[in-house]
Amino acid sequence: MGNDDHALIRAVLAGHKDAYGVLVARHGESIFRVAFRITESESDAEEIVQETFLRGYRGLAEFDARADFRTWIYRIAVNCALQVLNKRRSEAVVPIGEEFDDSRPGVQLADAGAGPDRLLLDREIEYRRHAAMEKMTQDERLAFVLRHLEGRSTEEIAVALAVTPNNAKQAVFRAVQKMRRSLAPLWVKS
């Protein structure tokens, strides 16, 4: 059995299920990272990783041998993340407010050495950043994460979102503008 992804896929399709375990071990962590960046939730990201590899296994027979497995499984992960976001929005667990809400659960910036003013500003920045992410449409959010945090090219984003490169670029642009509007008051304040 060869070590490259395509050889492993051939082995899986020939009945060697364990070969898929090598693929999961190889790509599991990168899928977790992207899932976390999209959902900003560790538990959601864990769930997405499992769902992604389950779907990947079931769809492996349709995998185009000319394609890159990493890109293919990445796209499945993005779709799974989209579904999680949809579900979360429909349930509306976390209310979105324009003003700073001290009681809002969220990821806080930890800086033990900073003073109280700085800590307060960091919390406000994080809150506004998170609020801006929630205001983005799904495409905008995915495009923003893939471009800004994952460093993907416009073409890769277009493939992942199944849109044209121009639409992918526009989605990134709109996402940045939303983030900019949300954070702008803080730059004036600082």
């Binding site: 898929y20 999961v24 071990a25 920045i125 998170h130 503008q177 983030m179």
Partner: protein, 251 residues
């Protein structure tokens, strides 16, 4: 001064702008665009929390958690490349190809043969008419010279006999070749011409005017000359007909 749009500034931040040097130069001299670019940069420098670190064997743990839900893909049976059904199919295909080839060849042959035969026959006729016309023309000239010699009571030129000797074997060949054709006028004319040529060619070395007169009288060369002119006229009429029918057949 044309300021950079927000879209251009964002593209510049991500390094996707097509005119990077132009944008950089503009940002150095335009404070308004520089401020906008700084704001965008500040916005994008705000990083979300980093994903929590995973254990080194994270992927294996994921696999352990999902592998129970997965059924192995059925192993594909190794089929021989030359299994019986494939062999039978291949034989049928081969037979079909051979039958199609033979059928096509026979059909093509049956279709083209009559045309080829007709074309061949016409081509032969054209060649015969062309060559024969040349022979008849030379014969006509010879008979005309004989006629002039007789009319002017002069001894004919030596070349007349030489020409007759040259025409004689040719005429014999034409007569024999055209004997099978249903063309009594042509056959009769060539037969008549051969006897005249034979007489001229076999005369004493120097043919005189008396000899010419005798030959003209005995052999009735005036009648032969008329026949030959008729045949030449007929040949010149047939040639265009054959030519046009050939063109029609080729379309």
């Amino acid at each position: 001064m044309n300021h950079l749009s927000d879209e251009q500034l964002i593209e510049h931040y991500f390094g996707e702008d097509t005119h990077r040097v132009v944008a950089e130069t503009h940002l150095r001299v335009c404070s308004r665009c520089e401020r906008a670019y700084e704001e965008i940069s500040s916005t994008l420098e705000v990083q979300p929390p980093e994903p929590p670190a995973r254990e080194p064997r994270y992927g294996e743990q994921v696999w352990q958690s999902i592998q129970g839900q997965l059924m192995p893909y059925p192993a594909k049976p190794q089929r021989s490349r030359f299994s019986m059904p494939r062999l039978v199919l291949a034989c049928f295909c081969l037979l079909g190809l051979v039958a199609a080839f033979l059928g096509g060849t026979l059909w093509e042959r049956s279709r083209t043969r009559p045309t080829e035969a007709r074309n061949s026959q016409r081509a032969k006729e054209r060649v015969v008419l062309f060559i024969l016309d040349d022979h008849l023309e030379r014969s006509e000239r010879l008979l005309v010279e004989l006629h002039h010699a007789d009319a002017e009571k002069e001894d004919p030129d030596q070349s007349l006999q030489t020409e007759a000797r040259q025409l004689l074997p040719d005429n014999r060949l034409y007569r024999q070749a055209l004997a099978t054709r249903e063309d009594p006028i042509m056959n009769a004319a060539l037969d008549h011409l051969e006897r005249v040529l034979l007489e001229v060619a076999n005369s004493p070395d120097k043919l005189n005017s008396a000899d010419v007169a005798r030959i003209e009288r005995e052999m009735n060369t005036d009648s032969l000359l008329f026949q030959i002119r008729v045949l030449r006229a007929r040949a010149s009429r047939q040639q265009p007909i054959v030519e046009s029918s050939r063109k029609g057949a080729s379309i």
